[in-house]
Symmetry: C2
Subunit: 217 residues, 2 copies
Amino acid sequence: MGQTEGGEKPGTRAEMREETERLILDAAEEVFAESGFGGATMQAIADACGLPKANLHYYFSNKEKLYRRVVERIFTIWLEAAGSFETSATPDVALRRYITRKMQLSREHRFGSKVWANEVMHGAPIIQDYLETTLRRWTETRIAVIQGWIDAGHIRPINPRWLMYTIWATTQHYADFAHQIETLNDGPLDEAQWQDATETVCGILLRGIGIDPGTGA
Amino acid sequence: MGQTEGGEKPGTRAEMREETERLILDAAEEVFAESGFGGATMQAIADACGLPKANLHYYFSNKEKLYRRVVERIFTIWLEAAGSFETSATPDVALRRYITRKMQLSREHRFGSKVWANEVMHGAPIIQDYLETTLRRWTETRIAVIQGWIDAGHIRPINPRWLMYTIWATTQHYADFAHQIETLNDGPLDEAQWQDATETVCGILLRGIGIDPGTGA
DNA sequence: GTCTATAGATTGATAGAC
DNA sequence: GTCTATCAATCTATAGAC
């Protein structure tokens, strides 16, 4: 299988290429997350997706370009989640929805979160421009919204910047430090624990800025 | 200078060895923090402390043993900070003191925090035993204390475990994601910003569990 | 104890058959 | 497009002079 279009899926050349690229990107994301950029080897990524090492270089010319594509894909997912912070909603709805979505991301995209954390910890050599443009603009608009809530007396007066960092830190911790959490928990969090953790985080942060959190249901 | 005891400091052989070891460990901590274990090279560490590469192997037989010593030193500092969570104090005093101390650590030991985060993100290959013994015991005693506060009606009923994670996440974020914070802030946080961030974190977390936070002064 | 030179192993990347 | 074989560069670690 591979050359003709008689397989299970349509399989035009473009579709096959996209499929193989995704296979490699998924494997690369996991290996980069677990070993960092410097610790990851092309061989390890090749093994993780069952392809010869040379094929990786056929689809992505070199290690750095492959890494860059992995990081860019993660940033796209992050941007989607960022959209769940609706600027027109009331603070309790907007924040609860955003925190819940970020917790869900930590659960479903653990590797992506780790790659992002690694990248930032190492000085963001690849995504510095994203930090300075897209992330900065997004952050500033949300800070303005939060400041509006404060001016309207909807939440307590706190520096909106530190609140944003608190939300990012708390939610992403469940992905980046998953190994520590699972060690202390004797295994992965189950469905009920994820719900409880999410509700607890929402509760602490909302009450922390003077909002009575509604029900989590 | 170096062989005789006529230098500025006493300089017995043992003292000189300790001094050189600390020089190497400091450089190693910074390089490991910025590049990860796999990305760091012995040459980069040697350059960072102005010593020939061979000397590193004289003091620490190989890269992994050097890394292990770096991580162990960080764990010692973490344990000291852990002691500031006094089990006999009232919740507001105990938590405020612990959070403040953790924020101070993030400011003064950024590299150590990053190395720890890296180690945990990569599955804690070196410090897994510490997680399972020392950290676990410490966490369980504090969870019991927090549960006691809940039973006595001093704080709102929340799962103490998620509260601990929230404290760790929020405070360590200021070290691990310092680069992102500084990018969004147009430079390092100044004294006033550190104080404000610390006070905000204390305020959100204490109010979040139903305590009226006292003054930060 | 300190340093230079180098061995030995690993890795990113490519050439070339199929 | 896929795979095997291999080159060139880099890195850990050590040998051996001082």
